[in-house]
């Protein structure tokens, strides 16, 4: 009898413990799968046409654009935004995050689901933003918050090749906004080569005149926070690659890094410039 009691008690307790444990083993939420996306792609050129300069448009429909990241904040010349382009055009996308280059490296193909975002412009530079605020009398925009990147942006692939568009001065226009372009036969004005790209110490941005040998000037805009802001521009002549931008009527180019500047030839200002043009194009980093 005592033997039976002993075993009965043992089995009862064993089963009780097992049941209790099973009942309490709450598995925590598992990682959810990616948000399902649809696949109707609008070209960036068409998408930009939704915008009227000086106005703000809420994207109410499900427009999807797809493009390759051509510039980001890796060298701090660009702040809280990335530039993407497809075959038809480019656009700047405001993102409220830092070190974006680690999430959206150059060459990453991204798809942006623009519904409920806004198209606006800053000094005529068209941009895609997450919110706008005019309560202060001026237009304040906010980028897509970091936790919502995965809602609006899907990374399709990495390391896609990018070829900058070769553009002459006379072809510079708003349709190139946000695109990676290559300017040839250009050099900084002699006066600008004496100073650094920007005031790194006081974190003040600056514009430098970049002159076409064939005539015409575009301004190379550099942020005071850029890691190369304290360097002096090269004095030579050659090729400059960057993002085409505008500041009202001023045509600008944004450097991604100083490796985008290949000004090693002799300056064209003076009699000998025609003999010193570069004979081959530069190697373009992806």
């Amino acid at each position: 009898m005592k033997m039976n009691s002993f075993f009965s008690a043992s089995i009862f307790l064993f089963v009780a413990c097992m049941l209790l444990n099973t009942a309490c083993a709450k598995q925590m939420a598992s990682a959810a799968s990616e948000t399902p996306f649809s696949d109707s792609i609008t070209s960036i050129k068409s998408f930009r046409k939704l915008h009227n300069m000086g106005m703000v448009e809420l994207i109410a429909r499900t427009f999807i654009i797809e493009g390759t990241v051509v510039a980001n904040d890796e060298h701090d010349n660009i702040y809280k935004s990335i530039y993407i382009q497809d075959k038809t055009g480019g656009i700047v996308v405001q993102l409220d995050g830092l070190s974006l280059y680690q999430t959206f490296p150059i060459g990453a193909l991204v798809r942006i689901y623009t519904q409920n975002l806004f198209l606006s412009d800053y000094r005529r530079m068209v941009q895609l933003v997450a919110s706008v605020d005019t309560s202060s009398g001026s237009l304040l925009t906010t980028g897509i918050p970091a936790p919502l990147f995965s809602k609006f942006i899907q990374i399709i692939s990495d390391n896609n090749a990018i070829t900058p568009m070769q553009v002459s001065y006379k072809n510079l226009g708003d349709s190139l906004q946000g695109r990676l372009i290559q300017l040839s036969d250009v050099e900084f004005s002699a006066a600008d080569t004496a100073f650094t790209y920007a005031d790194k110490k006081n974190k003040i941005g600056a514009s430098k005149s970049l002159k076409f040998c064939s005539g015409g000037t575009i301004y190379l805009r550099t942020s005071g926070y850029a890691d190369f802001a304290g360097l002096k521009p090269p004095k030579g002549n050659g090729v400059v690659i960057g993002i085409y931008s505008v500041f009202n009527s001023e045509k600008q180019i944004l450097l991604r890094d100083t490796s985008d500047i290949l000004l090693t030839g002799k300056r064209c200002t003076g009699a000998a410039w025609l003999q010193n043009l570069p004979q081959t194009g530069p190697k373009i980093p992806n």
């Binding site: 444990n21 598995q27 925590m28 680690q102 409920n116 906010t142 936790p147």
Partner: protein
């Protein structure tokens, strides 16, 4: 015999299904918590210690941050050895973690009350002993499980009994296991071993040896702002874990593997004439790990910029809130994303790593206690406590999260554009650190302590009195192994030794009105040397001393009334404790100066006053009742000085006064009541109910926002708000338990079974275990909500079940 084997196998099988009521540790506050005995969390007269209030605090205080007289509930004394360290980086509680409940608890000394353990300068001393727990030979097994965090615990205890001229010994082993999948606070594996051997010699002397060894590896929880907790939908939200390759990953962990060897010799001529010599050595490692990053996006899912409150646009804010509700996994760290960042970088440089801070311990603590009865009225005691400690602190890389190396750079500096500033080792600059290699700070901290003391005790039929004097000498030294870029001239090599003196005096008088009624008065005055933490600005970098380092002066009195009768035990106390020259040091990012600073506060005066009442009684011989009421008022007495020192050179950025006077110095509730009822059906069955209610509990305050800097920049209304305490909601909890014991007699053996079931916080009250204002503050726009307070909540209603078998 077959049955015993069956029971053993069965219990070993159940190792996966047992429990430990464990308390989280929060690294920011660097608090450790008393590990609770799973089945004895409800205070009962059956296991009551000499102090019912202390029982109530230990068993019910955790959720409410209710601690005893503003002091920690740590074990501070093991066999006359002081377990406190001036180096601050050692957690003795971790050395005993999991096994400490197997010790024989000898006493709890309050406000320095004299005990048979010898004179001790600390206000609250929690004594434990390696003494053998039973004179009888027995073996016991226990197995438990709880719903709160799904931890399993298995205990085995064997006691040889006590016989003269024999080697008597006791072995206890406690194994804990918790799988991360089943608990928001993560995993835990722990094995604790206590081996004690004693040999009683014929000349009334005793030789003893003990080995205390806890090996543990566990994850750590983190606090979060209420907004994130609400978005997660669970009060158990823990932002410190994440998803990695579809599995749960805990970067924040803690490990301890440091055995303690204790040698004891005791010679007794009589009860009051004896000498006890105890020495202990600890050799091992304690470590903790956490996520580190450099030049990369903040990976913390609850970072303030990622929460809806950071967004001003209401539509976008709502969108983000809904996104979180639909995708709760976004509230955990995405390690796959961090891995991708590391993999895509040039040469697979890791921008995110899991770093491990290691401390190799070599500790020696000892004491000699001698007692001599001079006459039938007088007793003379003297002794000395001594300690040497040597810690080697260094970091290693525990996980490169997909990358191949990490640069040996100091991320906690202000970028001054100088390439050498961020080098952790300028003699070996730009070094690429591989997995498990050392990086970062690398240094020794050493200390020596010597504390002789004398005590005279007088006993007669009306008055018992004690007077004691203690002295102390303490030496501190740092020895750097790296020449870092910030302080190349004085970061490497041994620093000069800082010697500090200590002196203390204590007196106690007990007046006996009758055999049942007593009145006791205690007064003390102490001068305690500064710890290494208070002495140095940052011993990771160099041995520069803090501008406010100083020994701490403490003084206080305690008046207690005791009534002891067969049906009643009543204790009432009032106390008053002051301490001066306290200092605080914090490292944080200052928004107005846009740089990292050390905030150093000195000359802090604090007051801890209060009144306590405990009543223990029996009703109808069946119901045992214990009521405890505790009022305590812990405040700052003054407006102390402070300085903000630049992270790069320790130069003073600013400093003046902090307006802390009358603010709460702790987050302990001012008023706490506990009522414990136990209905004893018979000698084997009982049920119990426990009610706890805490009121006026202030949040931990951030000191530096109460400064002149802020005062001159905000309106009077906002300033007055800052000068007032923020109180957490008054809250209570109901706990219950049931216990049943039964015995089976076998030839030559007695089997004792005990089954107990308990439930905590039955009403599921939301109770913040920790609540504090963040050190980071909006010093630009003074938006008090920008860096909201952080919380860690009690898990709410949960139950546990425990089974124990003892064979005699």
């Amino acid at each position: 015999m077959k049955k015993q084997v069956f029971v053993l196998i069965w219990l070993l099988f159940l190792i996966q299904y047992s429990f430990a009521q464990e308390i989280n540790e929060h690294d920011l506050l660097q608090k450790s918590w008393y590990e609770l005995e799973p089945d004895h969390w409800t205070s009962t007269l059956l296991n009551a210690s000499k102090n019912a209030l202390y029982n109530a605090v230990v068993y019910n205080g955790q959720s409410f941050n209710w601690s005893f007289r503003g002091e920690n509930n740590y074990v501070t004394n093991l066999d006359q050895i002081n377990l406190e360290s001036p180096l601050g980086k050692i957690k003795f509680s971790s050395l005993l973690n999991g096994i400490q409940n197997e010790f024989y608890k000898t006493d709890i000394s309050v406000n320095g009350a004299f005990s048979r353990q010898g004179y001790n300068v600390n206000p609250i001393v929690n004594y434990i002993s390696t003494a053998l727990p039973s004179v009888l030979n027995n073996v016991s097994f226990a197995n438990a499980f709880s719903s709160s965090n799904n931890t399993n615990i298995l205990k085995v205890h064997f006691n040889s009994g006590i016989k003269i001229n024999k080697l008597n010994y006791s072995i206890a082993m406690v194994m804990q296991n918790r799988l991360s999948e089943y608990s928001p606070i993560g995993y835990k594996q722990s094995i604790g071993l206590l081996y004690t051997a004693e040999r009683l010699l014929q000349n009334n002397s005793k030789l003893g040896f003990s080995l205390i060894w806890n090996y543990s590896n566990q994850s750590r929880a983190a606090t979060a702002v209420n907004e994130a907790i609400e978005l997660s939908g669970t009060r158990s939200y823990n932002p410190s874990w994440g998803w990695y390759h579809n599995k749960i990953y805990f970067p924040n962990t803690r490990q301890s593997n440091a055995p303690l060897f204790l040698f004891k010799y005791e010679k007794k001529w009589s009860d009051n004439n004896y000498i006890i010599i105890t020495n202990a050595i600890v050799v091992g490692t304690q470590s903790q790990s956490g996520l580190e990053w450099t030049q990369a996006t903040d990976p913390r899912p609850d970072y303030y910029r990622y929460l809806p409150s950071y967004i001003t646009d209401s539509g976008l804010q709502k969108s983000l809130k809904n996104w979180y509700l639909q995708h709760p996994q976004l509230l955990q760290t995405n390690f796959d994303k961090l891995e991708k960042t590391n993999l895509l970088s040039a040469e697979k440089r890791s921008f995110y790593i899991v770093s491990q801070q290691n401390t190799n311990l070599l500790l020696g603590h000892g004491s000699v206690t001698y007692s001599k009865q001079v006459s039938s009225y007088f007793e003379f005691l003297t002794g000395v406590r001594y300690a040497f400690e040597k810690l080697h602190s260094f970091n290693t890389i525990k996980d490169l999260i997909g990358g191949t190396y990490y640069y040996n750079y100091n991320n906690w500096i202000n970028d001054d554009g100088i390439a050498t500033s961020f080098q952790n080792d300028i003699l070996n600059p730009n070094r690429k650190i591989n997995l498990n290699e050392k990086w970062g700070a690398n240094f020794f901290l050493k200390s020596v302590q010597l504390q002789p003391w004398f005590e005279i005790a007088h006993y007669d039929h009306k008055i018992e009195s004690h007077f004691a004097l203690g002295f102390g000498l303490q030496g501190l030294q740092r020895d750097g192994l790296n020449e870092n870029g910030l302080f190349p001239a004085n970061s490497k090599g041994p620093s000069s030794i800082i010697f500090q003196n200590a002196a203390n005096f204590k007196a106690q008088v007990l007046y006996k009105f009758s055999g049942r009624t007593y009145l006791r008065a205690i007064a003390y005055l102490q001068n305690q040397p500064a710890t290494a933490e208070a002495t140095y600005i940052n011993y990771d970098l160099n041995a520069f001393t803090s501008p406010y380092w100083s020994s701490v002066l403490k003084r206080g009195i305690d008046l207690s009334f005791f009534y002891r009768a067969p049906q009643y035990k009543i204790t009432a106390s009032i106390y008053w404790n002051n301490s001066f020259n306290n200092s605080v040091k914090t490292f944080f990012y200052h928004d107005a100066y846009a740089q990292f600073v050390y905030g150093v506060i000195g000359d802090i005066a604090k007051q801890n006053t209060g009144a306590e009442l405990s009543v223990e009684t029996s009703i109808f011989d069946k119901i045992q009742l214990s009521y405890v009421s505790n009022y305590q008022h812990n405040i700052f007495l003054n407006n102390p000085k402070y300085q903000l020192l630049q992270a790069n050179d320790f130069n003073n950025v600013s400093g003046s006064l902090l307006y802390l006077s009358n603010l709460a110095a702790t987050s302990i509730p001012n008023f706490t009541n506990s009522l414990n009822l136990i209905f004893q059906f018979n000698s084997t069955a009982s049920i119990g109910l426990d009610f706890v209610y805490a009121m006026e509990r202030a949040m931990f305050v951030d000191y530096f926002r109460r400064s002149d800097f802020v005062k001159t920049k905000i309106d009077a209304y906002s300033w007055n708000d800052l000068l007032a305490n923020t109180y957490l909601p008054n809250s209570g909890a109901i706990n219950a338990f049931a216990s049943k014991r039964f015995m089976l007699k076998r030839p030559n053996k007695l089997y004792k079974y005990q089954l107990s079931i308990s439930a905590r916080n039955i009403l599921n009250t939301p109770i913040p275990v920790i609540a504090y204002e963040q050190t980071r503050f909006d010093y630009v726009h003074f938006n008090a909500n920008k860096y909201a307070p952080k919380y860690l909540y009690d898990m709410g209603a949960n139950y546990s079940i425990r089974f124990q078998l003892q064979i005699q």
